[in-house]
Amino acid sequence: MSKINLIVKREYLSRVRKKSFIVMTVIGPLLFAALLVMPAYLSTKSDDHNLVGVVDDTGLYYKSLQNSRSVEFRYLDMSLEEAREGFSSREENALLYIPVTHSSRQGEAVLFYRANQPSLVVQEHVRNQMSDRLERELIRNELGIDPAVLQGISPGINLSTIDMDTGKTSIALLTTGLGFFGGILIYFFIFIFGSQVMRGVLEEKTSRIVEVIVSSVRPFQLMMGKIAGVALVGLTQFLLWVVLTFIIVTVVQVASPALLDPAADQDKTVRETGVVMPQGISQDMLSEGEQVDASNRVATLAQGLQAINVPLMLGAFLFYFIFGYLLYGALFAAIGSAVDNEADTQQFMLPITVPLLLSIIMASFIMQSPGGPVAFWMSIIPFTSPVVMMIRIPFGVPVWEVGLSITLLILAFLGAVWLAGKIYHTGILMYGKKVTYRELWKWIRQSR
């Protein structure tokens, strides 16, 4: 077996066998699965039914407040005092009292409760229903228009975005989510595994094993072996996460299909793409009329998924995932070799972390204007391109831009490895010296 393979193997096995790796591998999918399953689970469980007794002194609201999933109105034909006295013997959770007001434009109401305060959802529903009712009344009385007529002319706009080449519908939310999720993953991958490379180099340097090893292999081989070994660890972890998440979600779905039933289609999308849709707002907050829309939305979502160029997304993700890591991994290795202990890494970490952080900070801005100059430059410059291009890609990026970005990233990677190799070569055998940028420059110039 060639020496670099031996190094890669050791780096890989020593990390994969660690307890922390196994723990992360198990906890990761559980978290992901929880993230996917919990909203659906909660929406079925939180069938928190509120019965609200209504004492209406104005008579305006009688039988005109609409029920929702969680709120049911019951109109009481009694005075407030009677209602309050008998409250504990009846089944209502709350009592809505609407007094007569002086202004016809101002509604007033009190929501009485005992022990359990009505949730914000209930309060919001009550307020909206009353406001709607009052609005209709005002439209009729002050403008002399029949609210039913007004409802008839309320315009509804349905905006679809369609790719002219493929004729497929896309859904902005889904594409955005996909790209953003990919970008975030790349960001975390670079940070977690890049710093693993750095710590590994530092460990070999401080334990002084490195001098023994570089008498057997070239320092460059040792560095590349470590970077490659850690990359494989990252890919393994990622793959295990995808597979385990898939298994957990499937098991949950099979075990209790009802749990995920209303959102089953949507959930499938989620599993296939790894994108978490805001399901939390779906069932519970929509009134009956909107439920139909929801199922339409699911259908459109599925359509939108088809619109996404899966091979392109996957290919781009893997490319930026690997090369982004390799670029930064080489730099992290150089840092690890230059210093004597982890505390000294700070000064050199800053210039590396800034572009990465910047790409995450700018992410939402880039999603708003994926074709703008900021997005363009950040997706071309190699230090930000892995994250930013991933965010941009779902919105459609001209081929030449992708090509340029890829070329520059590969070139930057080669440059970083070349530079890091020089720093590494001198650094790993240099002890007890406070290293400055000037010193690093000296190393780069003098090593051959």
């Binding site: 077996m1 020496k3 031996l6 190094i7 050791r10 020593s14 070999e204 401080t206 334990s207 002084r208 094993i209 001098e211 023994v212 090893i213 570089v214 008498s215 057997s216 292999v217 070239r218 320092p219 055998l429 002890y431 000296k442 110039r445 003098q446 051959r448």
Partner: protein
């Protein structure tokens, strides 16, 4: 043919010359002492031989061939600052390091088994390195250095941190390697061990080679005509011996025996000197004092102006 031959090697680091036209040659089956004060350039020379650093000019030949990456498998190196992978299992790590030196897994396994048993550390095979005592770690480091049966061994301060028992064990093994025909470069500050095991030395001082040659020859060439003499029936140290002026460095009487350390101011053979001595009294013992490597080291290093 020499196993390793360094010819006129120059190595410059920014703002400082580490090696200035240094040449050494190490024949097989010999121990070559590489001496010099701290910062003289020994480590740089060792790293050049190990191909960790490249010389600016000059040549290094391994058995007559220009040094090539394939030669790293023929060299074993025990650095002064040495460590192990603390978190790895002992056996696994030893296998890894042995295989990095080009051994196949089976061969590495066999040989490690032999050495681990010989050094009585086989029970630690499955333990973590960090659980080992320092002495055991050093045994493992030694085993790893020689496991691939190299033709050139480089030991940098091998005895530091070893207890006396392990020191003699190590010395024995080093000499056994020499008997096998291995060329050994031995870098140390411990001059008594140099006298004990080195055949030749090279002294590097301020990046230059200041002294080189077989140990005995160097000691003889550095001799200062000093003798240790014991005379019977002689009450006072003599002023002259024969017609040679002498300087009695120290003397003492005990049980009718006068012991003296005498320095002869001029060149004289031992026989002539003894002839002169016989007139002073009965010679009980006579010994020429050769300077120790320690003296030679100090003399050569302090002669050169800083």
């Amino acid at each position: 043919m020499a196993i390793i031959e360094v010819k006129e090697v120059v190595k410059q680091f920014t703002g400082h010359l580490a090696l200035d036209r240094v040449s050494i040659s190490v024949p097989p089956a010999s121990v070559f002492g590489l001496l010099g004060p701290n910062g003289a350039g020994k480590t740089t020379l060792i790293r050049i031989i190990n191909q960790i650093t490249r010389p600016d000019t000059g040549q290094v030949l391994f058995k007559g061939e220009r040094l090539h990456p394939k030669h790293v498998d023929r060299i074993g190196y025990l650095p002064e600052e040495r460590g192990l992978y603390r978190k790895m299992k002992v056996g696994e790590m030893a296998l890894y390091l042995a295989m990095l030196k080009g051994l196949t897994k089976t061969v590495a396994r066999e040989r490690l088994d032999y050495w681990f048993k010989k050094f009585q550390i086989i029970d630690w095979w499955g333990r973590k390195v960090e659980e080992l005592s320092k002495g055991m770690q050093q045994k493992i480091q030694f085993i790893i250095t020689i496991i691939h049966e190299p033709e050139l061994l480089i030991f940098d301060e091998p005895f530091s941190g070893f207890d006396p028992i392990n020191q003699s064990l190590l010395k024995e093994e080093i000499l056994k390697q020499k008997e096998r025909g291995v060329a050994i470069i031995f870098s140390t500050h411990n001059m008594s061990s140099v006298e004990e095991i080195c055949d030749q030395i090279a002294l590097i001082h301020q990046s230059k080679l200041v002294l080189q040659g077989p140990v005995e020859e160097l000691r003889r060439s550095h001799k200062k005509n000093e003798y240790m003499v014991e005379l019977k029936n002689c009450l006072y140290p003599p002023q002259t011996v024969g017609n040679h002026r002498i300087n009695v460095v120290n003397h003492h009487q005990k049980d009718g025996l006068l012991s003296m350390r005498i320095k002869v101011e001029e060149d004289v053979t031992a026989n002539e000197f003894i002839k002169g001595l016989m007139t002073c009294g009965e010679i009980h013992s006579f010994k020429e004092i050769l300077p120790s490597m320690n003296d030679i080291f100090i003399q050569n290093v302090s002669e050169t102006p800083r």
